[in-house]
């Protein structure tokens, strides 16, 4: 009697674990981004570990424990490596261009388009309080303040600094400053933890000052979200992932 109960329990557990692995596999195939695939791989790994543990418990052998240790120790390396280098262009499934607005539209940022998505209304309302709720295409608010992303065309000229302009780096401030600039500075340097967005903001004021075409583009918040415009070379990854102090001069003057 108890053997039957045991067998039923074992079979049920195996079926559940196998089903969870198969469903995670579906997400691996289907996942619209590489990060979805990575977390689905983590679920497959967790199912494997549970299955291995179950096998050890029920067949009376412990020589597989080192396998469990190694899986536990190193199972996260895949997700971390991929997320370290994920970039806008890598993560779309083929057939969609980088920068295509597939998941949501520009209006999700500051303008609630409809009220059916309960989130965007109050979220945008709260988030745009600083940007005074730009109802139109951010005419009321200077472009590069709206999330640090201006109406930048995805082209090298937009982020390239031309020769005749003086390049004013944000950390070259040596003029005698009024008091409030001093108190703005350390607070901004502290927010350098928000690494890649700082690169976007840093890249823009330098190259943006004379880009003539920013009014024509619709507000595209994808452009240079991480400072990954086409002119900036390979994706440097999250800037604050490197060790060493990076809030001294790298993110100075930028959030």
């Amino acid at each position: 009697m108890s053997q039957i109960v045991l067998d039923v329990l074992i079979v049920a557990a195996s079926v559940l674990l196998a089903a969870s692995a198969v469903m995670a596999l579906y997400r691996i195939v289907r996942g619209p981004s590489i990060l979805d695939r990575m977390i689905a791989t983590d679920v497959v790994l967790a199912s494997i570990m549970c299955g291995l543990g179950g096998y050890m418990a029920l067949s009376g052998r412990t020589d597989l424990l080192p396998v469990l240790i190694v899986l536990a120790m190193l199972g996260f390396v895949g997700s971390v490596s991929v997320s370290r280098y994920v970039s806008k262009s890598d993560s779309m499934t083929p057939g969609a261009e980088a920068g295509a607005l597939s998941d949501f539209s520009a209006s999700d940022w500051h303008m609630p388009k409809s009220s059916d998505e309960a989130g965007s209304g109050s979220g945008a309302g709260a988030g745009s309080s600083a940007s005074s709720g730009a109802a139109t295409d951010s005419d009321a608010w200077p472009d590069d303040v709206a999330r640090g992303i201006a109406n930048v065309a995805d082209g090298p000229e937009a982020v390239t600094v031309r020769d005749e302009e003086p390049v004013v780096g944000l950390d070259s401030g040596s003029d005698p400053e009024p008091a409030d600039a001093h108190e703005a500075e350390p607070a901004d340097a502290d927010e350098a933890e928000l690494g890649t967005e700082s690169e976007a903001v840093a890249a823009h004021p330098a190259g943006e000052d004379s880009a003539p075409k920013r009014e024509e583009e619709p507000f595209d918040e994808h452009a240079d979200v991480d400072g990954e415009g086409l002119g900036t070379g390979p994706d440097p990854g999250p800037a604050d992932a490197d060790d060493g102090p990076d809030d001294s001069d790298e993110g100075r003057g930028a959030p």
Binding site: L6, L16, M49, T62
Partner: protein, 131 residues
């Protein structure tokens, strides 16, 4: 025999948690929500399965090895979820419509507004930014 049944029940529980995680992966709407679902079996599922093994082999050797497994998992899972979450937030995988309140974006906005105000004050070609 009763120990075997207890172990089997615990493993079934681990299976249910894994199934819940996979279901969450399928059903939740955006990347960040799916990540919540995926981290669960790695913590509680493994804890439950380790309990099952410890019940079957209550020796010091096994129990300490299982303690090692659990502590490594506890240390590495937050790292993985944080990295994926940060990457998911910063790139366009974030679905703004699935966020009710975004205080990080507010803080970034404030910082950028401060930055722009500071830069304006320094007079570095800010005339272009007016309107």
């Amino acid at each position: 025999m009763i120990l075997d049944i207890i172990s089997a029940v615990l493993i079934l529980l681990g299976g249910v948690l894994s199934l819940a995680a996979a279901l969450g992966l399928l059903r939740f709407g955006d990347l960040l929500s799916r990540m919540h679902a995926s981290a669960k079996p790695q913590v509680l599922g493994l804890l439950v399965v380790a309990l099952a093994i410890a019940i079957q082999f209550p020796t010091w050797a096994t129990v300490t090895t299982l303690a090692i497994v659990i502590s490594f998992q506890l240390v590495t899972i937050p790292v993985a979820t944080h990295m994926v979450g940060r990457a998911g937030y910063r790139t366009k995988h974030l679905r703004r419509s699935m966020l009710y309140r975004d205080e990080l974006a507010e803080a970034v906005d404030r910082a950028e507004a401060r930055e722009l105000a500071w830069e304006r004050q320094r007079g570095t070609g800010t005339d272009h930014h007016d309107g």
